[in-house]
Symmetry: C2
């Protein structure tokens, strides 16, 4: 079981450094950055990393969310309040307990930019949303604090549970396979003039994608769905 | 049930600001500072508080640990690794669950200076030590991160449990009453030449105090113990 922390458009190098420090505190080592500031490996971030600079040096940098999550099986998004979307929500505790249940898969936890958090578009790509319970009157958590809570729950569960290796491989689809399927679906629906009123497409398409990302599809199921679409298309 | 965060000799105003922010995130509002830097309410700490400046403005400042905890019933100390002391240890989760169990008492959670953490002397005054589980190879948590973990567990339990008000008052002794009893005991032992080898007194006395702070003494029990000492003294 491998857990990757992904920061989407982090704004301040010092926050990235603080994230690296607290990741290593809780034994998380894999960091991905989507469009970080170009100077993210500077004096400030190194100072805040306080001994965990190696995580900054080994961080993988991407220029888009799909690229950053292509090889993952699960993707969790984090918010400090619930959004109005038909999505699975989990507390940090439940989410981390679930992670330790399905072994040898790779999971990403996605954190949004400091000022705004994740967009609804970002969240549409996530199977589950982790909501950190906070004071509703003062809900804006510092980025590294949010990573701390996730890391704390992660380490708690690694200490509590043996890391069971399910050898009967589940073969869940990767994010790349799911996104390729969705791109294909969107293309077919465009050609079929499915949306009717064009300005409603963004919302309708988001709702549709949320259905498919909620499914934990296997590779075989994606092939089956594609076959179904093929045969419908031919009529 | 009232929970007070106490920072002993915090070094950097910005860390105090970050603590204020995360306290308010998790609905904690009472902050005490023991010998903070004189300029702790400066631009940096206000910037890091990010909307929680009121906690800094209302923080109570003390010049010693005994003064800062005199009116508390329970005192927890925090460390990121276990010390070799005969003490009760609890995880943040268990400690916060316990707190919500005994209502209307006032409890303090004590955090040490950034660089060194709490001293063994400090911990001797605590009934229980909360150990935050971390990577043993990289265990130094940022101060505000440590407060975040405690605040997170605190809020989790407030959300999970109704705050039962035990009306059958427990009348546990305050820290002041316990410390006064211990000062009296030390004085009597000095006069009785109990320590024999003077250089062993610090350790012997620490061990003795740990016995009494572990007891959750009531006011009545302290009166009983004093009576017992009186009658022994007279012989």
């Amino acid at each position: 079981m491998s857990l990757i922390i992904i920061l989407s458009h982090p704004q301040l190098p010092e926050n990235i450094g603080a994230v690296a420090r607290v990741m290593l505190n809780f034994n998380l080592r894999r960091l991905r950055l989507i469009n970080p500031p170009p100077d993210f490996l500077n004096e400030k971030s190194r100072a805040l990393a306080a001994g965990a600079e190696v995580l900054l040096e080994e961080a993988e940098v991407f220029d888009s969310l799909p690229a950053a999550v292509a090889d993952l099986t699960y993707l969790y998004g984090t918010t400090s309040n619930e959004r109005e979307m038909i999505k699975q929500y989990a507390s940090p505790r439940v989410a981390m307990a679930t992670l330790h249940d399905h072994s040898p898969i790779t999971t990403g936890i996605l954190f949004g930019p400091e000022r705004t958090g994740l967009t609804n578009e970002d969240l549409t790509m996530c199977q589950t949303i982790i909501t950190i319970p906070v004071n509703p009157g003062f809900s804006s958590l510092n980025l590294a604090q949010a990573v701390a809570i996730i890391g704390y729950e992660w380490l708690q569960h690694s200490l509590e549970m043996p890391n069971l290796l399910h050898t009967g491989q589940t073969q869940l689809a990767t994010q790349q396979q799911i996104q390729a399927f969705l791109a294909d679906l969107e293309d077919r629906l465009d050609r079929a003039k499915f949306w009717r009123v064009p300005h409603k497409k963004p919302t309708m398409w988001r709702n549709l994608r949320n259905i498919f990302t909620r499914l934990d599809l296997t590779e075989q199921e994606i092939r089956t769905l594609r076959g179904m679409l093929d045969s419908l298309d031919r009529r």
